[in-house]
Amino acid sequence: MKDHDEALQEMSFVPHFEEIDVEYDPGTTVNVTMHDGSHLRLRKLEEDYDPTDRIASMKRLSEAHDKGEVLTGVFYVNTKAPSFIDMLNMVDEPLATLPESVTRPGREVLEAAMEELR
């Protein structure tokens, strides 16, 4: 274990840094100077971007990668897809509040099931 004990970082005092704030317009890029002086290039989606086109959103992300840019904004929205909860037909009430009468099948249900299996 000690043979592979390689230090990743030099542990030392962590100085106080200010948070990095940015403000830039849609459709433009900005180079953000990080705390160590390196840069991150952000590009904000333009205002007329259509987030309902799934294929186009994937293409935009790939193009940004190729340019070395970090694309920001809402890439994709679909308001019509059913949620997992809807698909499972979950009840509106919290499950913990359901009375035993609706969570525990009666004896006749068990007998009917057993009868089917005979």
Binding site: A7, I20, Y24, T29, L61, T79, P94
Partner: protein
């Protein structure tokens, strides 16, 4: 002599003040982007008039996953096992669909140990907001590269990342998430707007928020430094 009555504190449309959405004092490094994200969450929840007791804060392990302690201390909270927050969120939402699930994860928690759970969460379209506080490193364990670190990133020790990053947004769109976006922790206006839209959405919201780590990861992503 007449005294001026103290001004009533400003409230949102459900009668709560912004104090009602605050959490504990942060223990993260000064300047950490995660603190800015917590502030935007507080703002968005206040502005949208969300009842704090309806919110379930869920997280995994990492600097990011500590951050739910720093906002909305009236809400439910569950700090799960590393990378397993999606399962806990799924169980919570199936048990009580009236909750608003807010998951906070990190790039390591999501894109490495939790990638399996992340993938299945995205394809199920569970109603929840899943935020990745993405700094490209494992901060709690002193700065190893995560799977979202840029190709060619360099640690202070000189180690260079030779592996291409996973784009969590591309993955989420491919798999079926129904609201996918990316922002920067310091872009107050954009992040605040995205969070409000996320609260209004019914389905899986995946927001990747690039968040500078002041201690372990500041890196050049390869672009030329020219504004346009």
């Amino acid at each position: 002599m007449a005294t001026t009555p103290a001004a009533e504190p400003k409230t949102n449309h459900i009668g709560l003040t912004v104090i009602d959405y605050k959490g504990g004092k942060t223990t993260l490094c000064a300047g950490c982007g995660h603190n800015a994200i917590s502030e935007r969450i507080i703002e968005a929840m206040y502005d949208m008039g969300v009842q704090p007791e309806r919110v379930a804060k869920l997280s995994g392990i990492g600097c990011s996953s500590k951050s739910p302690a720093y906002f909305m201390n009236r809400s439910h909270s569950f700090n799960s096992v590393h990378g397993r927050m999606p399962s806990v969120a799924t169980g919570a939402m199936l048990a009580n669909r009236n909750l608003i699930a807010l998951g906070v994860s990190g790039d390591g928690d999501t894109a490495s140990i939790g990638i399996g759970q992340f993938v299945h969460l995205m394809r199920r379209n569970l109603p929840m907001i899943y935020i990745i506080e993405d700094n490209g490193v494992y901060g709690l364990t002193k700065g190893q590269f995560s799977a979202t670190a840029d190709l060619g990133s360099k640690l202070k020790s000189g180690v260079i990342n030779d592996l291409p990053p996973i784009d969590t947004c591309g993955l989420a769109i491919e798999l079926g998430a129904t609201f996918v976006g990316r922002s920067f922790s310091g872009d107050k206006r954009q992040l605040s707007t995205m969070l409000k839209a996320a609260i209004a959405h019914h389905g899986t919201v995946m927001l990747d928020v690039v968040s500078p780590c002041v201690t372990f990861n500041d890196h050049e992503a390869q672009p030329s430094p020219t504004n346009t």
